[in-house]
Symmetry: D3
Subunit: 256 residues, 6 copies
């Protein structure tokens, strides 16, 4: 099997696929933890699409690098989010990226080490989550920063833990530990720090004994209700978030 | 800012709004705990509408008085619920009141002291619930009394804690303590008795640093899936409840 | 009241109805635990329909026999599931059987003893679940056996415990004990082994004091959201499962 | 093939099945046009279920007798519709009958002669409608008679011709001719009076060349969106209709 | 019956109610045709709410004045629609106004004379539309003016005439005559110019012979599917329209 | 602006973009009419994705070549469609291709010349359809050929012309002329043969005066209800179609 061109197209995503087709997709910044930028937002839309369309991928593992998933975000990279043309791109990409993950039609594992403090919803579209002891979920970029958590983060948390806990987490964000997330049914297994990826690969190995159609169709069946919610909720959520971003910029300008 | 006329229009609702726009809406009966009547059912429809339409309200806190939210109900005030004209009014108000709460487009906190034993679903439409140690939820008026819990109480409990727990609670109603509700993700914070309102105000204060559009749109985003369920489920639920009320009256008459 | 003909129509279902209309419907094989076959799949479609249409049933209790609900399955009884005509029957029955349970318009209790390791979703369509200490839920026939858990088992577990726990359970099936299920809000009461049916009857007795319309309409209200999900999800799930079954047979033939 | 027992179970339904499995199901009263009664309402629930579950039926043709489908209704047969126990039965049957037609999983043709002036929605659940020149649709029993057209008649007309025309027809009922219905896309073919059944059989014949799974799955695919609407709308519609029936009885008593 | 206070609260809405409760609600500007302004947008939210909550209204007729419904719009009255605080108000009102019309729980007639060229969707929430010969529908304010037709106009047209015709009309707006609208099933009756209101009143009269519960519940049943669509689609539509308005202002500034 | 790589990636799709960003996407086979193959099915998934993600496209025109859109299909190119692995690919691509068209977030015009007799639903995802006098729609590959019309063709026709006409067309396929389609509201404009593309470009030109955000968001708003239906219906439809294809192959083998 030749290496697909998308394996080398994205400078901050490392792809690795073993002989059996288990794909590891690791977000990174120079090999270390990724500080999320607008360029990553754009890149991930296509990266997840390519992963989904490549039938040589049999199981997909999403992970980070350097002991973290995504610990932070560089807001300035997004430019003037009060400009409607700028936000139109954010809206379109933000809707598309989640649909593209949902359309990965093979089972997906989120191998979490360290902080999933930005765009944790990417990981919440996996079927199984394995986390290191010291891992945590949080939501830095939204209500804490003055904008609506409208990009799917509420939809996904609400789907996994119910709307009450989701609202509480997003209105008063603080790290949710791996163990606490396990008690809520979010994390399937907690492993020693550094062991999440290996454990994810072992789980993936176990699945390979089933027929490929079984694996694909199980994913399709499991993701269908979530996908329907994404399609109904995320576009509007991002539009509401865009208006809040414009209001935030306005308030900065008035204050400045 | 002048006092809006609705502040004094409802004899059993006390409105108080601070300089920053945090509105406290306290249900009461002569200053003490409210025993719910048909007149309250009608009044709350409009009261919540007025609260929702007044953009001077920046955060809304719903609470009770005298150490309780709503501890009891006066069924006789509703008249002959087997009369289709009587129930038509109950149906229409019961559908409308929940939509009006859902349409409060600013963040909402339920500050619960004592018993939320009647129409707890009003409080379950808040985004955050703060409860005193001795507080409890229950559902006195429905299955225990011989009628269908169709007025949204099942929809809301099901939404917060899943259908299994909701059905168990409503078929065999008994007080759910604040601590138990916290363990289920319903109550965000348990505070000493008497401290719920103050804590709710402190939380509201914290939110005021975000732009108004952010606050409004966050509420809109969070409530949208619940609102869609209300619109699909509550009208029918109340119609089913009405038929059960007519059957109950019939059984009384046959027994009588 | 004469005995309805369906009471004796199904050789592996024992019906018993007391004077007040509490129906017990016990699955069995020669009086002992049922190993599920294709004939049962067909029979249960009609059995649940008959139960639902008979207004003499006031409460329905579903249970097993010999200390188990359904501990195992005889796959060979289904014939060549890669034959599209064979699967067409499975698809149609599998969709219909869950709708027929959902259309039982009186409250329903699942009295579980021992293993609900096959078609546990039948029991998850009850309103209240009472389980013996040693009871457990599992899902033997699907992912473990190489096919998609598409027959409603995911929809029902997802509805009761959220999609995260449902996916984890179905991808890595192992017994969920009665106590663990109680902690998740699935089992309402855990009783000593052998006492589930008696306890279910006591609960049913308690409900009989309410008017019949109240009981029927409460069931209708509670089941409506689940029924809507079944109608949207199960047909597709079974079609995806059918394709996976064909792939499994193909893999056996290639291996063979 | 032996004759199924349901062929002779319903005194006012004549079943006839040819060697290829084309089933004709003709409603009649002593061989002539059917005046609809409460007994028919109950019978049709089961009749359509039996038709749907019998895999020997390859295509189903629904028709009337004596040159009419259903020209009239005998309201008095329903008893005191203001009695909640009476209406509970109407509600449950009315919901179930439409689902049972929707669950007939083979293509269905409505061969209409004369008047479909009562329960035309049964015919609107067919895939193809063939009508005699003199045939017409109408809705006698609802708004004209003082009750809500809530039993699915609005859902079906709205689905076929849009909500505007549906509302206009139901609020001001008058016969819609076969030709007018054809112009609206409802009737596929208009034939000379008396020729509808023969033409329906010819169409059915043409379908038999396709594989059975193709025929069944085409029906399933076509009916799915309608079925979802029925499940969402008809129960509530019938509950609203029941309340209106109680109000009508009340008005008669007050007038009386 | 005393005159309700809302009858005199809105300077550009004339209310008139006859002894039987037929309410005529006429939009006007100094007695002549209304040029729509931001103040009307705000006023109509409350006006429709008051109409809906007042159970003395038995049928509602919406109409215009001076031979037109709404012929034009004064965009400047809305202020700087690129300001997120300004648009937040438009979004909230625009969502609420349509829900408030949908929540008028008595049959509603749209008596159209002249131009419904702005906010025709208000009239499309009626159950029956009567139009003068010279009447026409159009959509001036949206795509023609450079913004998204997102305020419900697409949802309502799409609901009445299907998405194809709706898109064509909104992308290339030109007057749709009363006769053309009748051919599409939108207008129920075309009458001589000036006769629409009288004809609407005659229709309303005819409905009054049915029980009030029948009238109310028929409206509730008919409007439910439309209301569900409004709740799902209009908020997002208005958010998308708001972004387009900001882009339009930006383009003016760049051009300016 | 450099030419994007996808312009030359697909041998049977010709892309052409003018200086203003109006993209013409023409399906062809050696410059003439396309006979649809499995390779086209795969290629179009990616082609539409690329078109949708490229923000340099301002309006998209879909068309055919050589005086036809898609006049025929080469079934043999799909291989053994009774093989579950083969159909899994068809299912996944068939679902994805329609979502990718729906996710083209700029207005889209279908310029139809000649026959849209295969996959007409691609064109039905446009916002406006312009057709030459001699153009026609049909559905060759499904019921006529012995398989379920489950790939979205029913969903789209049903969405545009209602379920009655859609079912009639798909069960008894014959060419629907441009004029007939115009009368049904499907075709917006009929032009002389050969003039469709020029007219489509003229319409596209007219739209370019609106801001880009207006154009994008109008498309998003218009497509949202269709997209929700696609996501709910097409996957299941294709699964049902796959089973029918397996049954057809089985019947050939039995006959063979």
């Amino acid at each position: 099997m030749t290496t697909p061109t998308y394996f080398t197209r994205f400078p901050r995503i490392r792809f690795e696929r073993d002989a059996q087709g288990i794909l590891t997709m690791a977000l990174h910044q120079d090999g270390g933890p990724l500080t999320f930028t607008a360029a990553d937002h754009e890149a991930l839309v296509d990266a997840f699409y390519e992963v989904g369309r490549d039938r040589a991928n049999k199981v997909v593992i999403l992970t980070g690098s350097g002991g973290d998933f995504i610990p932070g975000i560089d807001f300035s990279s997004f430019g003037d989010v009060s400009d409607p043309d700028v936000w139109s791109k954010v809206h379109d990409e933000g809707t598309q990226v989640l649909e593209n993950i949902a359309n990965i039609r093979v089972p997906m594992i989120f191998a979490l080490e360290g902080r999933a403090h930005v765009h944790a919803e990417y990981g919440l579209l996996a079927n199984v989550i394995v986390a290191g002891e010291g891992a945590s979920f949080d939501d830095l970029p939204h209500f804490a920063g003055g904008i609506v958590p409208g990009d799917g983060i509420h939809t996904l948390w609400s789907h996994w833990v119910g709307p009450g806990r989701a609202m509480a987490m997003l209105l008063d964000p603080k790290p949710l530990t791996a163990r606490a997330a396990q008690a809520l049914g979010v994390v399937a297994e907690v492993v020693p720090d550094g062991a999440a990826l290996a454990r994810a690969r072992a789980i993936a190995q176990g699945w390979l004994t089933r027929p490929e159609v079984t694996r694909r169709n199980t994913r399709i069946h499991f993701i269908q209700p979530i996908k329907e919610r994404l399609v109904r909720e995320v576009g509007y959520g991002l539009a509401l978030e865009g208006a809040s971003a414009a209001a935030l910029v306005k308030s900065f300008r008035q204050a400045g």
